[in-house]
Symmetry: C2
């Protein structure tokens, strides 16, 4: 039997466009002689659509479109398998609303008389007399629900969907009898959705049950699984291991695209997979590329022998972002390894390889997002520093340099060095450039503030304009006065150039440099931003585009005399240490708290635990008390002002294991130092005192 996987672009909340894409893939698959086309999870409505699932008219319109798609496939003599929302209007979900499932739909085999098996309900759903979808014999539902609903990171499946586990509990039907087992041209197949394959942390193992209790001879998994760094590696190992352990070929089809849940933007990188019954990789889908992969599968007549599978052809459909010739279609860390041997012997990527992977991912996610949001032009506030330089470069690559308007906005504190670097960057990229000095406006504001008097006399009648207030006036003048208006006047938007270290502790000005339509770098630590810059100069452009001065100048906000880069004065963050420290709070699997950090500091293991250079901590902190002060300062900002500012921060492009926003949920408010922390602190301070 010949089947095809549609690694298609899925647009959230755009079913008509998605259906047109499925039809395109159906036509392509038919040309390749395939009998069944497999599309990703939620490929009709999109996956990350917030609470739009609650709108009954939206559900109806999706449900009606399913039937038309199935009829179309049948008219081509094909079957289409796709993920979408399965609505059971006869039942309530646990939110009290119409019950919805994250489900797989299987159109009826046009070559067989299956329709007699499909009864009443199906016709209700299809709004026509002829059933078009296969029903589960026990549930009677014309679709097959997901078993495992992820409820971590960005995933809210239990919020939106009912699942097989709940259904089994309600109906008392053993779960294994509710799983999706479908006969494709005589091949008894287990069909599942995304998380059903990621079963490590669940007591139920859907794929193993499909093979071991239901006799499946091949497995198909429909996914809509977002990109994060390192996930592809895990994905290949996981599914290879499943195929090998269960001795069946396994096919995994994932979407391409960009979807978001408001505060967090995800890229979907494709990376569809096929393994033979020995777990060897037959195919891995391109990185952020739309393609169709065609396979032949033959079930052995002897059921002792495994089913065989082989790749027939890969048809390129579209690359949403046409990459630069110097950038490979797959990032080097992926492409370097022969696919067949991947699962067993993938070396960890070098720092440069990691930077290139992130760069390709970022460019694709930005291209997809700008396309979806109708953004064709941006204004970038270029300071001459590293973050804005990388941001401008990213957008110049994605939108074309002529659509990236660079604005440098010096106050009296900005050095000629950085102003010059900003101008040089724009010129080398080929971007329109303007200088818009802010000092006149800042002076006016400060003068007005000094004059302001409240009446009648109150506790505090006039304003106390501290240096910090004056710094923030500059930052807000740039973003909320200049960039916002310039962008609006050009029919453009402007990005927020914050990195993750700044975001973690709120080292930014609200309504100032924290502003922007999205934050492309806010899931990258400062050193990772530098690595992107080097990768651009050395691998992509193969010349110095991001100026040497930008790469070498001390990172600084240049908002006061005490932040003079010509005297080497910069940020209060010592990035080689603080990047690693903040990472341990936010991304380490076992999140570190201040008590853990202090304990490691006291026993000398902190540099090892954080993965930073030996001797660094002693160089930065002359005594335990300076260490403790620094730790308390940043931890307080992380849980306090940082969290407060993140509530109003722009959407972040997710790249890491944990991204601020909807992926890392937070409350705002006070916290306590634990007894364990306070005991360690006493110990540390007494060492300081004794030293």
């Amino acid at each position: 039997m010949r089947i095809a996987l549609a690694q298609m672009r899925v647009r959230a909340r755009c079913p008509r466009e998605n259906l047109a894409v499925v039809r395109e893939y159906l036509a392509l698959a038919r040309m390749q002689g395939a009998r069944v086309l497999f599309c990703p999870e939620m490929s009709v409505p999109g996956y990350l659509i917030g609470d739009d699932w609650e709108r009954p008219s939206f559900l109806s319109s999706i449900t009606e479109s399913h039937a038309l798609l199935a009829q179309h496939a049948m008219s081509l003599g094909m079957r289409v398998v796709f993920g979408s929302v399965g609505v059971d209007s006869f039942q309530k979900g646990e939110d009290g609303r119409t019950r919805r499932y994250n489900a797989a739909f299987v159109s009826i085999d046009p070559h067989k008389e299956e329709s007699e098996r499909a009864r009443s309900r199906n016709s209700v759903v299809a709004h026509s007399n002829a059933p078009v979808f296969l029903e589960h014999p026990l549930t009677g539902l014309p679709f097959f629900p997901k078993t495992l609903l992820p409820a971590y990171r960005e995933f809210d499946d239990p919020r939106h969907f009912h699942c097989l586990r709940r259904l089994s509990l309600e109906t008392k039907i053993p779960l294994e009898n509710l799983l999706a087992i479908v006969d494709f041209d005589g091949l008894r197949s287990g069909l599942s959705l995304c998380e059903d394959g990621w079963d490590d942390d669940y007591s139920v193992k859907p794929m193993a049950l499909q093979v071991n209790t239901q006799g499946a001879r091949a497995l198909f998994n429909l996914s809509c699984s977002p990109y994060t760094f390192g996930k592809r590696d895990k994905r290949v190992r996981l599914f290879s291991g499943k195929a090998q352990a269960l001795k069946v070929p396994l096919f995994y089809v994932n979407a391409v695209g960009s979807q978001n849940i408001g505060k967090t933007l995800y890229g979907f990188d494709g990376g569809s997979l096929a393994f033979d019954a020995q777990g060897s990789l037959l195919y891995e889908g391109g990185f952020f590329r739309e393609e169709l992969a065609v396979f032949d599968i033959d079930d052995s007549e002897n059921t002792q022998d495994p089913t065989t599978a082989s790749l027939v052809r890969v048809v390129e459909v579209r690359a949403p972002f046409a990459s630069h010739p110097n950038i490979p279609k797959a990032p080097p860390s992926l492409a370097a390894v022969s696919t067949a041997s991947f699962a067993s012997q993938c070396p960890p990527p070098t720092r440069r390889e990691a930077a290139l992977e992130r760069l390709v991912a970022l460019e694709n996610i930005l291209a997809l997002t700008c396309d979806a949001w109708g953004i064709r032009r941006v204004v970038v506030g270029v300071s001459g520093g590293i973050d804005s330089a990388v941001s401008a470069t990213l957008f110049a690559r994605v939108l074309g340099p002529q659509e990236v308007y660079c604005v440098n906005m010096p106050s009296q504190y900005n050095s000629a060095l950085t102003q010059n670097a900003a101008r040089v960057l724009a010129s080398r990229l080929g971007c329109p450039y303007a200088a818009a000095p802010i000092q006149a406006s800042v002076n006016l504001t400060l003068a007005e503030l000094k004059r302001l008097q409240f009446d009648p006399a109150s506790t505090q009648n006039t304003l106390n304009i501290t240096p910090l207030v004056a710094e923030n006036v500059q930052a807000r003048d740039r973003s909320a006065r200049v960039l916002s208006a310039v962008a609006a006047s050009l029919g453009a938007v402007f990005p927020c150039n914050a990195n993750k270290a700044e975001s973690t502790v709120g080292y930014s000005t609200l309504y100032g440099d924290q502003s922007g339509f999205l934050a492309p770098l806010a899931d990258l630590w400062k050193h990772e931003v530098y690595e992107l810059a080097h990768a651009y100069n050395e691998n992509v452009f193969q010349r110095e585009v991001i100026p040497k001065e930008t790469l070498e100048v001390v990172p600084s906000a240049e908002l006061s005399e005490t932040q003079d880069v010509t005297r080497g004065q910069g940020d209060p963050l010592v990035y080689p240490y603080h990047d690693a420290l903040f990472r341990s709070w936010t991304e380490h699997w076992e999140r570190l708290g201040p008590e853990d950090v202090l304990a490691h500091y006291l026993d000398g293991s902190l540099e090892n635990v954080l993965g930073c250079e030996q001797g660094l901590i002693r160089r930065i902190f002359p005594s335990p008390s300076t260490f403790v002060n620094d730790l308390e300062r940043w931890w307080t900002l992380y849980l306090g002002m940082g969290a407060f500012k993140r509530v109003q921060a722009p959407p972040v492009v997710a790249l890491s294991r944990r991204t601020f926003g909807f992926d890392k949920r937070e409350c705002v408010g006070p916290f306590e130092w634990s007894d364990a922390y306070l005991a360690l602190k006493s110990k540390a301070l007494s060492q300081s005192h004794n030293a």
Copy 2:
């Protein structure tokens, strides 16, 4: 047996403070002769703490504090029952991390030799040799997990916690045998947590199982259930119905306080409940007031007779916000009804009663939030309009008028009428006041923008400063330039005065009037803001404090010549209609989409469905095509620019059935008009054409 309910204030992420409060209640309860004290769900760590559950050191510190609390209760000869996080370090949760439960802890009866029943695990958790918590005989866990985990609105329980349903599935122990049944001085009691009582939409009914299969003779529910308008009514009916149907007395203890999940701020209003075995209300806890309620419970010797229960005494502990003498402790809609008859015959509140309930709730939530966040002073931008007037009044009541700095920021477009109204408001409230005209700064900005030129020549070399750009320049000048700096200079913050109608469609300027530390009114429709203003003048102050001019002037942004209030020119929103329309999209149980609205318009039922005045729609829209244009304009803004702006909006105080932010989750991006909508639109436009 005498027991007590602790309607205590719970502070998120402040276990030490919470434990001190529990100890205080234990002492009070002992003075009242109570043997058992019941505290709310999650009363040690707080409930809404985002993903802080993932930090192992935080979990350890909470777990250690439990044992000390139980030992303290035992030393007083008492038992303490409280909700907190139950950690099972031997198992993983479905997120792959240490398994956590939302659980009830029951300290061991100091008068009985129960300790032999408590074995190995308990001592691991307590870090001491003597077991201090009752274990479940089958699970061996020294706590009793929640059965039903809410996953709607603001609730993310399945994200953070394992539950009895999953445990039952894993262990194959029937769920009813896993439920919490505790013997309190011979009274066989069912203990449950919050959602376990709200079982309407679940196939499992924990309380009914506790009584009908486990022989419970009384029920106790520990809750941490936030305030929203109308919930108290539902709460009383629900639990009264349970007591009546199951023929047992039922005790429900809820927390007081303010907790948030970043973008959405919740008040916890107390409202603890006790019912006798006939379902009659014995007690309802004060609205946002800390108190201890003491009851005597006697189990009948004849198990055919129900257990009896009676209220002994209510001890007032604290009112977080000392209300004005004209404001009753409970809102009038609640206080007006005799408690005994509430469940059966509660009349719907009048509009004024509803306004007073919202007013009391808002004042308490703001007081609790400012207290938690350490905010003692605010700056309010007072425009002379209704929203800023109500906002200033709220804060003047909560923080004292001397701490509410009112700033009026006129441009050339602001009328003398509104400027005067702003000054009068501040004077009547007794707030410090200043005028800070923005025209000089706006002129400078517009002049600078006009001069700006990009180099080299690009597609668009100079800026196109449209009227909309110039309007937004003013709005951002006020918030990001003036208010931000004034607030910082006064050690204050400033609120965002947006209402829900504006928020729905993003009728506000990002980094302009959308800014603020929180948005007290953003869960109130415009007409509800007016109702608050009238309630203030007529019920609270009993004189005109919010000026007549503010109440009567047409709502207007006053940002251009076309928004001249002296000529009656104001917002593009016709609030009596658009409030109701937007409400149908966001708060109606069956969310309306454009196809539903248009269908109701065409069949003449829309005014009924929306609940607006008959004839209004015909008055506003002379033809179907004007109706369609308006519908498409606002729907596009609601899902488009409105959602985009809400990502960066301040936290909203939740009052309604659905609040923007974490309660109503959204994606940002395009959407499609459904086929059903397009068909109705053709029909409507052909009617327009034919008309």
